[in-house]
């Protein structure tokens, strides 16, 4: 009944529209479901408007569909109901799920090749491109907003504790030494971290060139298994656990919650997303700086390169292939140096192409905003290895929860790092086996 009514209304609407537009000109609509809020949402709309004004055949319509997990679920539900959007923004932990859905997704390299748009894989940053490419090096989804992990330092707190703010800690032992001095100077929270699994386990492993799992961190196939309980990871997590006991590291939450403790001046150091730059800049009432993510100097090959987080744009399979041409045109527009450089400079996300990086350099942005190029320097520090190009594990949303839980049990002193990481591997592998079973 409701369906019949809505269909009738749609027909009436279509007739009215046809009558209103004198030139019967067909504009193909491209639905773009995303999860960008606030200033980022404005920027997304601006990009779509600019693209729509640049040509007449296609119209990109950005639609905010809730947070990352919500918009992904919505897109999957729409696909199952036979009416998927053209483009959906999916966060990096959903990559394996999307990639396993072979019939549902149109790979970007195919899309670009078929529509004959300009597309050069070498134009993209290796660390960004590698995360979203298959084992043959073909790009599956379009990189959009990518960030990585950096260390933020409260310079005022450093001065108060007699530390040199011009010389922020470069290694984890230096972080410990600084934290001790800060604590002695009366700082309640010397060090904290946002996104603990992403920063202290996932990217930590890449930064020290040790594997998170077999089969190239899962890039090599569904039969991958976790191995994030290696000696390097155990040592680091145990250190953090000890620091938590001594009050040098204060746990503030799993995701972005710890950031507020840094911007309020409560915590003196935080490792978190480079995408937090704009937020800190707007809210911190003290002198602060961005520094490179710390590493252990006694680990051979460290620092390697960090891995990214953020989201990419996925093209879902369409009934009418005519729209692919428009999506390809839009992606080409999106990766142009001007659009990318602007996106990078206003949001704090890293530029996804080398051209956008060069353009930003040329515009003098990094000289005026010191520290904004640290993220990209970390990503491009060395060419990515099998351990550092990213990770691709099925059911990773659950696995990240499991890692978070096991880490919390170390911070509260219930488990040692070794036991907790062993348990994380065991429980995580159960999730991977489940995913393998569902997708084989």
């Amino acid at each position: 009944m409701a369906l019949a009514l809505s269909r009738a209304l749609r027909i009436v609407g279509a007739i009215a529209l046809a009558a209103a537009t004198t030139s019967a000109y067909a504009v193909t609509e491209i639905q773009w479901w995303h999860s960008m809020t606030g200033k980022l949402n404005d920027k997304v709309n601006e990009i779509a408007d600019k693209f729509n004004a640049s040509q007449k055949d296609y119209k990109v319509v950005p639609v905010y569909k809730g947070q990352y997990d919500e918009s992904m679920t919505a897109a999957i539900a729409a696909y199952r109901a036979g009416n998927p959007p053209q483009i959906v923004q999916v966060f990096e932990v959903g990559t394996a799920t999307m990639m396993a859905a072979k019939g549902a997704v149109k790979p970007v390299y195919q899309l670009m090749a078929e529509s004959g748009e300009k597309f050069d894989p070498k134009a993209y940053l290796g660390a960004v491109y590698g995360y979203y490419a298959d084992t043959k090096g073909n790009l599956i989804s379009m990189p959009f907003n990518s960030s990585t992990q950096v260390l933020y330092v409260n310079k005022d707190a450093f001065k108060k504790a007699g530390l040199d703010p011009a010389n922020p800690p470069k290694t984890w032992p230096e972080v410990e030494a600084a934290a001790k001095k800060l604590k002695a100077a009366g700082v309640a929270c010397p060090f904290t971290t946002g996104w603990q699994s992403w920063v202290q386990v996932e990217s930590f492993s890449a930064w020290h060139n040790v594997p998170l799992g077999t089969k190239e961190n899962g890039f090599g196939g569904l039969d991958t298994r976790l191995e994030l309980n290696g000696p390097v990871q155990v040592k680091h997590i145990q250190n953090l656990g000890n620091w938590a006991k001594d009050g040098l590291f204060v746990y503030k939450g799993r995701k972005d919650e710890p950031l507020a403790s840094f911007t309020s001046g409560d915590c003196a150091m935080i490792t978190t997303s480079s995408g937090s730059y704009a937020n800190i800049k707007a809210n911190a009432k003290f002198d602060w700086e961005v520094a490179t993510l710390p590493y252990y100097p006694d680990v051979a090959g460290a620092p390697q390169n960090t891995i990214i987080g953020g989201a990419t744009l996925w093209v879902l399979n369409q009934k009418d292939p005519a729209v692919y041409k428009g999506i390809a045109k839009f992606f080409e527009f999106l990766s142009s140096p001007e659009v990318q450089a602007d996106w990078h400079q206003t949001t704090g996300y890293v530029p996804i192409t080398l051209a956008a990086y060069d353009l930003t350099k040329k515009q003098g942005f990094y000289d005026k905003n010191p520290g904004t190029d640290i993220a990209i320097k970390e990503l491009t520090n060395k060419p990515p290895t099998a351990n550092s190009k990213g990770l691709r594990f099925g059911n990773f949303v659950q696995i990240r929860n499991i890692i978070d839980e096991e880490l919390e049990s170390v911070w509260s002193g219930q488990k040692t790092a070794k036991v907790a990481l062993d348990d994380a591997v065991k429980r995580g592998n159960e999730q991977i086996e489940k995913f393998q079973k569902a997708n084989q």
Partner: protein, 293 residues
């Protein structure tokens, strides 16, 4: 004499209940049967590949120690929310019923929290009890309690119980107050003349007469604690630390909606459905007998 109403027409009674039956079929039996079917499948997120695995999803669940622990958490949480919620609101209702001056003000203020959305209620308590910024945390610290619900499982449980109870008190209060006001004053006065004090009057006269209301609220509160508290937990502790506050309904959501593991999520919702059916049966079979209508 036959006390029941008997319809003359053979089809009229069926026609009258038909809309209700239709609604139940469409909105309860249909989705429930789909959940039952889905619970025996393993499917990728896009439903490209589907395998029938019979009871494997259930087997996996009962081998997961965290899932089993979640039963205990749910039982403790529901019991606390129901018992505390009912007793506090009964106490408030009895006092509000006796207030003579400014009664409307008290009543209005007590009903207010009901207008607050569950997620907002949760965030409000998270602010008050935030380990680094909360006002109540500051007071607790002064009293020597190292409050930190992010790492301490007991503290996390206290947080969600307090938020869930606070949210539900208004509803209970409203029903208890209405129940109290419908008790004839003459009964209470008669008891008073016979020499019964306020405490005795309450337990021998008022409380038995309130029992239908209390029973109704018991059923409603148990259902509330099982299902409607989802938003509170999701917005405050997200089930942490280490699943210490992962109640069953939260896990259904996390596995189904966030992790897209529909088979396991459906299996969990089937189990949840069985629990609620069992609880409701128990309540009507054993507790209702003690209720005096």
């Amino acid at each position: 004499m036959e006390k029941r109403v008997v319809f003359a027409s053979p089809w009229l009674p069926y026609a009258l209940v038909a809309p209700q039956i239709a609604i139940t079929l469409v909105f309860f039996f249909w989705p429930a049967s789909q959940a039952l079917w889905q619970s025996m499948l393993v499917q990728d997120a896009f439903a490209a590949k589907t395998q029938f695995v019979f009871l494997d999803n259930f087997k996996d669940l009962f081998q997961d120690p965290h899932y089993l622990a979640s039963f205990r958490v749910t039982a403790v949480f529901s019991a606390l929310v129901t018992v505390i919620g009912l007793s506090v609101s009964l106490l408030l209702a009895v006092f509000a019923d006796r207030v003579i001056r400014g009664a409307t003000v008290y009543k209005t203020l007590l009903i207010w929290p009901y207008a607050v959305a569950a997620a907002v209620a949760a965030i409000l308590w998270v602010f008050l009890l935030n380990p680094s910024l909360g006002i109540l945390t500051l007071l607790l610290r002064r009293m020597g309690v190292a409050w930190d619900f992010l790492l301490n499982p007991t503290h996390a449980l206290i947080l969600i119980v307090v938020a869930a109870v606070w949210k539900q008190i208004s509803y209970n209060f409203l029903f208890f107050l209405a129940g109290l006001q419908s008790i004839p004053k003459s009964l209470i006065e008669a008891a008073a003349i016979d020499g019964a004090g306020p405490g005795r009057r309450f337990w021998t006269v008022v409380f038995p007469l309130l029992s239908p209301t209390a029973f109704f609220l018991l059923v409603v509160n148990v259902v509330y604690a099982f299902f409607d508290t989802f938003a509170i937990v999701d917005a405050s502790t997200h089930g942490g630390p280490v699943q210490a506050t992962t109640i069953l309904v939260l896990k259904v959501y996390q596995d189904g909606q966030q992790s897209l593991d529909l088979g396991s999520s459906a299996a969990q919702s089937v189990i949840l459905m069985l629990i609620v059916i069992a609880l409701t049966l128990i309540q009507f079979r054993f507790i209702e007998r003690k209720v005096q209508y």
